[in-house]
Assembly symmetry: C2
Homo-oligomer: 230 residues x 2
Amino acid sequence: MTTAKRTNPDRPDRLVLIGDTAIRLLVERGMRGLTHRAVDEGAGLPPGSTSYYARTRAALLEVALARMTVLEAGEFAPALADGESPAALPDDLMGIADLVAAIVDAAIRDGRDQKIARYELALEATRRPELRTVYDEAGAVFRGAAVGMLAVLGSRAPERHGRFLVAWCEGVMFDAIAGAGWATPPSRAEIRLGVIELLSGMLADATPRPPARPFGNASTSDMGDSPDRS
Amino acid sequence: MTTAKRTNPDRPDRLVLIGDTAIRLLVERGMRGLTHRAVDEGAGLPPGSTSYYARTRAALLEVALARMTVLEAGEFAPALADGESPAALPDDLMGIADLVAAIVDAAIRDGRDQKIARYELALEATRRPELRTVYDEAGAVFRGAAVGMLAVLGSRAPERHGRFLVAWCEGVMFDAIAGAGWATPPSRAEIRLGVIELLSGMLADATPRPPARPFGNASTSDMGDSPDRS
DNA sequence: AATCGACCACTACAGCCGTAGAGAAAACTG
DNA sequence: CAGTTTTCTCTACGGCTGTAGTGGTCGATT
């Protein structure tokens, strides 16, 4: 429907090259620097190619966003679940703090460009509903994992706590990457401390012993994955 | 030095009109929609006016950012300090939670446009050092207040805690405004709960009785928890 | 009162933008 | 190997963008 002409999997199509270049341009020059011709040039493609694969500008943005979703999914795959078993997630506070700190620290240090491009597209999605959809789906996965972890820890409000945990991470990352704290980003140890404090505040009145079953009792429906999924 | 021709206070100059219009365009159409001619049109000025007051595009961005700094300062003035007495800030956990929740809630609900423009400029500042400066100063004020409040509450690491409190707020706001949680922003009560949990987690090992002296305007020097640079 | 200088409106121009379409090249079919 | 369809390259065009410059208006100065 959008513009992706060929989804043939046996050719790693120019679309991913165009998407990667678009993301790079977004980071280096912002929304104003992302143009069809700039992508052609930046990707070493013959002039007009981008204009052919993404006829309109909206289509070009969708290509970039789609590519970014793929990249981000691949980024969290090793951390969240190697196969698709969420049981690989840690189930104690310290383990979760380690994991979260590792993810945030990595995002600040190595994933800076990724994040800037994401913010740029998030802002654009403010004005383009068609981007919003894709964007939200990606976020739901992340949040689902957080809700699941909070549930395992015995939180009495895993939905809200998971959401605020994600928000905390997002805020720390934004501050360190694009905010006023860019000059002195927090160390990984500081992040870890922060996560521990946040979680222990949330769990002050948690059920004393976390339930034995992996995940599964969040207030609303989706929240992550059921224990067994085919 | 930048481009502000006239800082004469007795004429509320076209510069503020231009700045306001630039901010509005930033929100409605993004960076790509902010052009000299669009500002002329949007502000009802004769064509060429914006191009005269802000000869280059960089100058136009600075006008917008300067105006936004003023607007934001005016926004927090009633909440933070009417004169400049920080003693008006609450000094107990619940009072602070109320204040923070009120600020964040207001930002999400009434200050959405303000925030979007701010994010847009923050991203641009990633690539323009001259914007960075102004931007950071505004953030420092906010963070300073947070550090002060945490110090009053007896935090053992007010620098870090204040910073993470601000980051938490920033994350909640971003999520609700431009992030995946835009559809269901948290209620003010939920935000309040979140702040209380965050603060109580930070203050688990706080000094039992908070010090009596009001603040101390912790800029960067004194109370860092880690051996950091000054 | 004439001059002068600041302030401002308007126009010009070179360059880049999104997008469309015509035609070349390649791939596929028989 | 001829024909046909798909995939791509290249060029064109109207419109918008940043920015500089030119001349006009108006108040202040002497």
